[in-house]
Symmetry: C2
Subunit: 323 residues, 2 copies
């Protein structure tokens, strides 16, 4: 059986988007339910999701195990898995790790761009690695069954997390920096360590992570996949599109600024380019998975490798490490 | 006029302690109202203090300005100034800096032993310095009038804070590490920078910060003051006793463990020495200020220097930088 999985989306959700994801044959999507939210605020986001699950029960349901991906595949639905792009929902309380797992959270980033209580973010000047609390929290995440996600974390912190975590970690959405130098993208050293530890990377379609941004070509993207496979093994590569469909620009402003600064921050953008960037033509939404499939075929990837990248590798990761 | 100020106490407060502080002729005490508390939890601690101010209005009142120290001196009372040993009360929201200042907070540590959102604590393995949010928050603290306190922070973070802050910073309670090597104590480099920037150190009487702990001699303590004065100037030295009178041992356990770890942490103590340490005989409470006065006299300090250390230096710091 082949599965299709997009391991990161943060859309302004509605029926159309759930239908597009079905049209794209996505059996599972890992959705972000927290950037800056604290524990109580995440409850509100989950309440919204519960309403979606009720209202659109022909299209989606909440996923908690790899079996839900199998079920989604059979029923032509999409299983929705919850994740956090920051550790803000556990506040400063290690006991909340188990609480958020009970709510269905299966991925949690240790930091989002900035320093957190657990690890350094990729936009900080210096990276002190995983902190004292971080070490404790990783142990607890391993125990309860939440995957450590280091997509927005800094290099030493990420290498530390790979070392400390008893389970492989994930980078749900980022690209290699050999292809495009962005603070969010990952070094070859890191990708090697990630592959060797059975970790996964979800390659991103967010224009700020792409060579030539919105104008990135499908061919270039697929060549990058080939080279990444050489570095870390094709079986550790999936997609984490980082699609933010239908979001107003106020949301990207909030992602970047939260409540941590009074000086306006433009993140990967700039004052003159502050908005959400436009998606490449060949990946305007998840139906672009078909283009990636064809692109990989043209480069000589075999069927198993292609199906791996499009979803089977994430499926195996879920099966082995989320359960 | 001479003032006596203890610039750090965290007692389990009652009438007896307020009377001892008066007996010790303390015109002002900076009290800790937060270690791990968030914004709402701090409100509860302030409500407790409001009840103390009502109930013991012959002994204490809330201080907000150096004028309250003058007033306390005239009325034979002790002005109580609020401070945080951690930035937990501002959570991840820079707007709360102004809110906590309105509640009367005049000192805030950027970190307490561990990494915070703002800076690294002295118990972390690596110190990445003041963070992106830390830089923003220092600017905001300067604007509203809260003094940056780095007592429990790591070295680079403290040097960064001295650099970044437009106002001098304080180390309200710590000792020099040339005298006693404790993670909490401060290097000569740091003390020099602190003095040159018109910052203050409050020397601590907490046994884990003292040479020979509980058995530390008054003479040794005063010799340490003399050498510290040579390094950073006597006018930048005060007392921050770190007295924790009447506290049950459950409190030191909470200070060390908060809710950040599931593995028991013993901080400066150890499994066999987990309790609050016993105070030296010559500083069982704030009446020990008189012993320090005599000890400094014996070493040849002049009156101005002695009165400076016992309170006038803190008074000047309050006058110049808190207002």
């Amino acid at each position: 059986m082949n599965y299709r999985i997009d391991n990161l989306q943060y859309c302004n959700w509605n029926e159309d988007i759930f239908m597009i994801n079905r049209q794209a044959k996505l059996d599972a999507v890992h959705v972000t339910i927290a950037y800056h939210e604290d524990y109580d605020e995440v409850q509100k986001n989950i309440d919204e999701w519960k309403a979606y699950f009720n209202r659109f029960d022909e299209l989606i349901f909440q996923g908690k195990s790899y079996k839900d991906i199998e079920k989604a595949n059979k029923e032509n639905k999409t299983a929705i898995f919850f994740g956090f792009q920051n550790c803000s929902p556990i506040e400063d309380d290690i006991n909340l790790v188990e609480a958020v797992h009970k709510m269905g959270t299966v991925f949690m980033q240790l930091s989002y761009n900035n320093q957190s209580l657990l690890a350094t973010g990729c936009y900080e000047e210096n990276d002190s690695g995983v902190t004292r609390m971080g070490k404790e929290v990783i142990k607890e995440m391993n125990r309860v069954g939440i995957i450590v996600d280091m997509s927005h974390s800094a290099e030493k912190s990420t290498l530390d997390a790979i070392d400390i975590s008893e389970k492989p970690i994930a980078i749900t959405h980022a690209n290699p920096s050999f292809w495009h130098q962005a603070k969010r993208n990952k070094s070859e050293t890191l990708l090697k360590e990630l592959g060797q530890s059975n970790g996964m990377i979800g390659l991103s379609l967010y224009p700020h992570h792409l060579l030539n941004g919105t104008d990135c070509s499908l061919e270039s993207f697929c060549e990058m996949i080939a080279r990444t496979a050489d570095i870390m093994g094709a079986e550790h590569i999936g997609i984490g599109s980082d699609l933010c469909l239908n979001q107003p620009d106020s949301v990207v402003d909030w992602m970047r600024n939260g409540t941590w600064t009074k000086t306006k921050n433009y993140g990967e953008g700039s004052k003159d380019n502050a908005a959400f960037p436009r998606q490449p033509e060949w990946f305007k939404d998840a139906t672009g998975f078909d283009n990636i499939k064809n692109g990989l075929k043209s480069l000589g990837f075999n069927k198993e490798e292609i199906n791996g990248v499009l979803g089977n590798n994430w499926f195996n990761f879920y099966k082995n490490y989320i359960g």
